[in-house]
């Protein structure tokens, strides 16, 4: 035990002599591990969130001419802004279909400081595997709202509070405020680590009401006009971005795009009664003009192939970083051993065993690698905890910062194995040295 202690002591002292090189080597290893951990956790969380959602609603119906990935991103992750709408009668038709177990309407147009207001049905909220933290799930009135935990917390909203929405999903202060239509908080959901956390659920009818602008007897004329002007402008922009020519032609309206007041939806989530119906429904629904149905699982698989490609690139990148870091440790070690050839020879003459000197070199390599691993994993997980908080706030995707991913385990093992190999290189170096020649050298 005392021998081991003295080996570690001597190794530590040598490292202390080369503080800069030691620190840089350790940090290089740590940095690569931070990268590996951050990427691993990000990936895992996104995948998990995607898979959870796709299991509940295997089909998503949305407007044609919208990219499949965009449709999924906007409906499941509420990351991308939904573009284009479909008529409500699609929903009515799907809901009546005997092969459909459940269908959920979704209309997203507004937000509260960046938290999307999702017009939907009570059935959807009931289907969420999340309980209520406060109040009840009640969307019976147009003005009722049920908030995700994060959305409520960030906007300082409690049960009974009222709020209004802002047109668009950006949370832009300049955007039009729908001040004429207030919502009352009826319930707040538990935190779930899903996009529901950041969502504000309201009855789909209210979305139509807000944008119709004629539903409210209290509205005075001025406000009305104001709304329409701004609304016009906004919808125009929307139209240009989305490029939805089909729909514009379909509806004979004052505006270039179908008004929300005409009972429009951004998407419909569908759970077929049997998995066998998924493909059939997908095909059938997609034959309708301006409408497409997307197999969620397949779309997510596709989305994941993009993610995986990126993942592989980043994986390769972090492997290279790690390799460079380890190479740095090797160079530092060899340089330092070379520098103290004479010293090593002196130690041998003083009766220090060759194995002991090798063990010191080994300990040095291991201390650097282990130090890098400890700093890297600690820092990686702490950063994941901080970054995960941000991701959850923004996108409602839960990141478990303390989870250890396969990538992390691999990287840590790789580093420690490399450390051992380096240590062996150090041993071989000291073993091959000729003491007499070294000590006799002037």
């Amino acid at each position: 035990m005392t021998r081991l202690r003295s080996i570690v002591y001597v190794a530590w002292r040598y490292l202390g002599h080369r503080r800069l090189a030691t620190t840089v080597s350790m940090l290089a290893i740590a940095a690569s591990l931070v990268l590996v951990i951050a990427i691993g956790l990000m990936n895992l969380s996104v995948k998990r969130a995607a898979i959870d959602s796709s299991l509940r609603y295997p089909l998503v119906i949305g407007p044609k001419n919208v990219g499949v990935v965009q449709l999924i991103m906007s409906t499941i992750f509420q990351i991308d802004r939904p573009s284009g709408t479909i008529p409500y009668d699609v929903f009515e038709a799907v809901e009546k279909d005997g092969r459909v177990a459940a269908a959920v309407p979704m209309a997203v147009a507004d937000s509260v400081r960046g938290y999307p207001i999702v017009g939907t049905s009570r059935a959807y909220l009931d289907s969420l595997p999340i309980g209520v933290k406060a109040g009840t799930i009640d969307l019976s009135d147009e003005h009722d709202a049920v908030l995700g935990a994060e959305a409520a917390y960030r906007n300082s909203l409690n049960v009974g509070d009222t709020f209004t929405g802002t047109h668009g999903l950006t949370g832009d202060e300049e955007a039009h405020h729908h001040e004429e239509f207030g919502y009352v908080v009826r319930g707040i959901l538990n935190e779930s680590g899903t996009p529901s956390d950041t969502s504000i659920y309201v009855p789909v009818e209210s979305i139509w009401a807000v944008h119709a602008g004629h539903h409210h007897p209290h509205d005075d004329h001025d406000e009305d006009e104001h709304h329409e002007e701004v609304g016009d402008h906004d919808e125009d922009e929307h139209h240009e971005e989305a490029g939805e020519h089909d729909e514009a032609e379909e509806h004979d309206d004052d505006e270039h795009e179908p008004a929300w007041g005409d009972r429009r939806l951004t998407a419909i989530l569908v759970r077929p009664a049997s998995p066998a119906f998924t493909a059939i429904l997908e095909r059938e629904i997609s034959t309708r003009a301006g409408v497409q149905a997307v197999d969620t699982a397949r779309a997510i698989r596709r989305l994941m192939t993009y993610v995986s490609k990126g993942e592989r690139m980043v994986e390769a990148f972090s492997t290279v970083t790690l390799a460079v870091a380890i190479a740095m440790v090797l160079v530092t070690l060899v340089m330092s051993l070379n520098e103290r050839r004479r010293e090593l020879a002196l130690m041998r003459s003083l009766g220090v065993r060759q194995g002991t000197l090798g063990a010191v070199a080994m300990a040095e390599a291991l201390i650097i690698c282990l130090g890098g691993v400890i700093i890297g994993t600690a820092l990686g997980h702490v950063l994941a905890a901080l970054g995960g908080r941000l991701i959850q706030t923004r996108f409602g995707i839960a990141v478990d910062p303390w989870q250890i991913t396969r990538m992390e385990t691999g990287a840590v093992i790789l580093t420690l194995v490399a450390g051992q190999v380096l240590a062996l290189a150090g041993m071989v170096f000291t073993a091959r040295m000729n003491v007499i020649e070294e000590i006799a050298r002037e």
């Binding site: 005392t2 021998r3 202690r5 003295s6 080996i7 002591y9 001597v10 002599h17 004479r342 010293e343 002196l346 130690m347 041998r348 003459s349 003083l350 009766g351 220090v352 065993r353 060759q354 194995g355 002991t356 003491v435 007499i436 000590i439 006799a440 002037e442």
Partner: protein
């Protein structure tokens, strides 16, 4: 009773197809408490003999017995153990670690032996006091004069109370005045019953010893005991 004995010691090196024999059967016996100078021109084999006596090298044939232990067949680790406990080396170039203080340098043989820090401190201070350097314990080698550095090296050699002090040209890097001081220190150590073997090519230095063994071409040419006849004042010769 001899402390060390060499019997027909042969050392040869294989240089490809050639075999270079450096020692051709050296016989030598040194008793405890002796003060021996090994002399000889370069190429006489004195360094090789020194390395074998110091257990840094092993003979090709013959016997080397140190403290009743046959060294010839021992493993590297066993040799290291002997070096650590029985031999104190003093080198021409001091071989101190530049980044460490005098005291740290003196402690080196104890560190790897796993001696606890407090005991190391105590022993190293004692050894430094013995060579008159207690006040310089916390100086680094570059803050010490050549003579002081060699004293630190001697303190390091003494720390484990070795059976033999082996000095290889200990004054080779010192001016003659400082060299004489170092030799007086060896005298004192000998008076304290230490066994000392000095390898040198300088007659002046050899005269401090009580016995001079001369090597030539790998053989013992002469082996003389004499009363010490070192000059009372150091010679004015300057080594550069």
């Amino acid at each position: 009773m001899s402390l060390l004995r060499c019997i027909d010691l042969v050392k040869a090196y294989d240089l490809g197809r050639h075999r270079l024999e450096v020692l051709h059967g050296v016989n030598l016996s040194v008793a405890a408490g002796e003060y021996v100078a090994v002399m000889g021109p370069s190429g006489s084999g004195k360094s090789t003999l020194m390395n074998i006596l110091g257990c840094l090298d092993t003979p090709s044939s013959g016997q080397y017995i140190l403290d009743d232990l046959a060294v010839a067949g021992l493993s590297d680790d066993a040799l290291a153990e002997i070096r650590n406990s029985k031999i104190g080396f003093v080198f021409q170039t001091f071989n101190l670690l530049a980044r460490q203080t005098a005291q740290d340098n003196v402690e080196l043989p104890l560190i790897y032996a796993g001696v606890p820090a407090s005991e190391r401190r105590k022993k190293s201070m004692r050894a430094l006091s013995r060579v008159g350097l207690a006040a310089r314990a916390h100086h680094r080698p570059n803050e010490l004069s050549g003579g002081e550095r060699q004293r630190v090296a001697i303190a390091r050699a003494l720390i484990n109370e070795p059976s033999i002090l082996l000095a290889d040209e200990p004054t080779g890097n010192l001016d003659s005045k400082t060299g004489a001081e170092i030799m007086r220190l060896f005298d004192e150590l000998h008076a304290e019953n230490n066994t000392i073997i000095i390898v040198t090519h300088e007659e002046d230095i050899a005269h401090y010893a009580h016995r001079v063994v001369r090597l030539r071409d790998g053989n013992v040419e002469s082996d003389e005991r004499h009363a010490r006849r070192a000059p009372a004042m150091p010679s004015v010769k300057v080594n550069l």
